[in-house]
């Protein structure tokens, strides 16, 4: 029950932060930070793929409605939800995942988080900017946008965990 409340709060929090703050941050250089893939990564390890995808779909639609992108965020987040079990399988520790833990950098270690979240966010950002542009001759610009935005998004996600998840650990 407490877990469910935690995930509901997280869902709303990510949607609000993404649409009200991060989408309006206009830093220039093509930087567009997106932190909501972290929600999918932080879901419990034994959460099935199909419910994850439906959750990703509903979250993406919420973000799309608030930012006039009509399905762009949904499509990229679905990809993350689909690839999540594959990446987790490839990075799985020797004796499997502990179902009590979640995929944060405190539970699984910084290196695991860097590999798992880094690869997912790379796919997410590349897909997002590629579909947004949808022109093959702009591939250089798409790649520039992707690789400029990834460090910023990653930094925001680390910051989120430092603020919210560490506190839970102390309690």
């Amino acid at each position: 029950m407490r877990n469910l409340l935690k995930y509901i709060f997280r869902f709303i929090f990510f949607v609000v932060i993404q649409t009200m703050v991060l989408n309006q941050l206009e830093v220039g250089f093509g930087i567009h930070p997106m932190i909501y893939p972290l929600f999918i990564v932080l879901l419990p390890f034994d959460f099935k793929v199909i419910p994850t995808m439906f959750l990703a779909f509903s979250m993406g639609i919420c973000i799309d409605i608030m930012s006039n992108t009509y399905g762009l965020h949904t499509s990229s987040l679905l990809l993350v939800a689909y690839l999540r079990p594959l990446i987790y399988k490839a990075l799985s520790p020797r004796d499997g995942y502990d179902p009590i833990k979640e995929g944060s950098m405190y539970d699984m270690g910084h290196l695991w988080f860097l590999y798992a979240f880094g690869s997912l966010i790379m796919v997410h950002h590349f897909w997002f900017f590629a579909i947004e542009m949808f022109k093959f001759n702009e591939i250089g610009y798409i790649l520039r946008k992707t690789f400029v935005s990834i460090p910023v998004s990653y930094l925001f996600c680390v910051l989120y965990q430092m603020i919210f998840i560490k506190k839970e650990k102390i309690k």
Partner: protein, 279 residues
């Protein structure tokens, strides 16, 4: 049959993924060209209300800039009211002027949500169909052109701005009167592009670009920007013209929706043009 069920079971994850992905992408590509309903955009009342709360929080940050702009336009208006004019010829004017008839009306609205960094940028404003806004109307601001109304609900509207794909506003470069179309190259919110400018004439740097007004969405002669660079397009008789927008879209607070009172008449007349015969 059993084989089919086994197949579906085996690939159910991928099938669900593909199904949802098709929904998302088809939503994206159809809405971009033609919005079927307001519910998936910020024109929907729930999203619009949340965004207007946000605007209530943040609009104070740009109060001084908005105020300065308002004062400037107030000054312009003050200079136009009758008590500031001297009558030169007595008894020679009539009140009911039949030479001029009003063609364009303006409705003021506040921008409650805007982006300029994305590939396609939409602004949300706080007036909607109750105030008389309809999709397809033009939107201008104090210093330039903003875009076209894309979609509207009772109290909110979404503007497809000049910072999107295929905005295609008809423009003219003064003083040489060359006509073309306004585009955007997705990169910088301060530069726009013009296409369809034939390269038989030289264009001076910093010549002004105005709306042409042929589509009836905007009045003719609204300033859009100034020409900065000219590049020849390879193999075609056109210039690739880059312009500097006169409006600063990053700091836009108030806009005006343009209503053309004679648009019906113009449309009716243009409908009579015979369709081209396909050979």
């Amino acid at each position: 049959m059993r084989n089919l069920i086994a197949f579906l079971k085996r690939f159910q994850v991928f099938l669900v993924f593909a199904g949802l992905q098709v929904i998302a992408l088809s939503l994206y590509f159809t809405f971009f060209t033609f919005p079927r309903s307001q519910y998936f955009t910020t024109a929907s009342s729930a999203a619009g209300t949340v965004l207007s709360w946000r605007n209530d929080l943040t609009k104070h940050l740009s109060l001084s800039r908005t105020n300065k702009k308002l004062q400037e336009s107030n000054k312009d208006l003050l200079e136009k009211i009758p008590r500031n004019f001297v009558q030169i010829q007595k008894h020679l004017y009539t009140i009911n002027d039949t030479l001029y008839k009003q063609k364009y009306e303006y409705m003021a609205g506040a921008v409650i949500s805007s982006t300029v960094d994305k590939t396609n940028n939409y602004f949300t404003i706080d007036i909607g169909s109750r105030q008389g806004v309809k999709p397809g109307m033009g939107v201008v601001s104090d210093n330039g052109v903003v875009g076209v109304i894309h979609n509207c609900s009772a109290h909110f509207s979404v503007i497809k701005t000049v910072l999107t794909d295929d905005i295609n506003i008809d423009v003219t470069i003064k003083p040489i009167d060359l006509n073309g179309l306004l585009k955007w190259d997705h990169k910088d919110a301060i530069y726009g592009n013009l296409t369809g400018i034939s390269n038989d004439q030289k264009i001076k740097k910093w010549s002004k670009v105005y709306t042409r007004g042929s589509s009836g969405i905007y009045p003719a002669g609204v300033l859009i920007g100034r020409v900065t660079t000219l590049k020849p397009v390879e193999g075609e008789a056109f210039w690739d013209v880059k312009i500097l927008f006169s409006e600063n879209y990053r700091a836009l607070q108030t806009v005006y929706v343009v209503r053309n009172l004679m648009l019906e008449e113009q449309k009716e007349l243009e409908k009579q043009i015979p369709a081209p015969v396909v050979k």
